[in-house]
Symmetry: C2
Subunit: 95 residues, 2 copies
């Protein structure tokens, strides 16, 4: 049921992609074709991974864009689920 607090995709990006290749944020941002600030925001958890960014990452690191966006979904959903009880929604399934 994936009860764990999922890491922000930016952390994963830094640990799995930048550090192994000894890439600086500045260099990686240039290679990805985005500003240093944009990449920094992601790496430090201040921004999410957009669909376009997922495609950029898939090109640069030869991965699947899906995997990056799925990580983002897990992260977003974990936070959205925390407010589940505060939403007033009627159950319609077993109506």
């Amino acid at each position: 049921m994936k009860m764990h607090n999922p890491p922000h995709p930016g952390e994963v990006l830094r640990q799995l992609c930048l550090e192994p290749l000894n890439l600086t944020v500045t260099d990686a941002a240039r290679s990805l074709g985005v500003s240093r600030k944009t990449l920094s925001s992601i790496l430090n958890g201040h921004a999410g991974i957009s669909p376009e960014m997922a495609v950029r990452l898939s090109i640069a690191f030869n991965t699947s864009s899906e995997s990056w966006l799925n990580q983002q979904v897990q992260y977003d959903l974990w936070h959205a689920e925390k407010n589940r009880k505060s939403l007033h929604v009627d159950r319609l399934s077993a109506a």
Copy 2:
């Protein structure tokens, strides 16, 4: 490789949830706790499914919020991938 044009999650929502229960857009919106316009925008493909909306759907229809957001990711990614060639990104994997 999932090369098919994924349907907009709003279509799926209408066909799999509203129609089987004979739910009107007006009633479903009220039950979900959102405005009729918000639900209508989703159903007609003018808006995506947000994390919070995914949780609402999961409550109302006793489904998983993840499945709704995953559908949205598939849809968004399919469109983002169409611009893959127009992005200037350096390959860093086999650097």
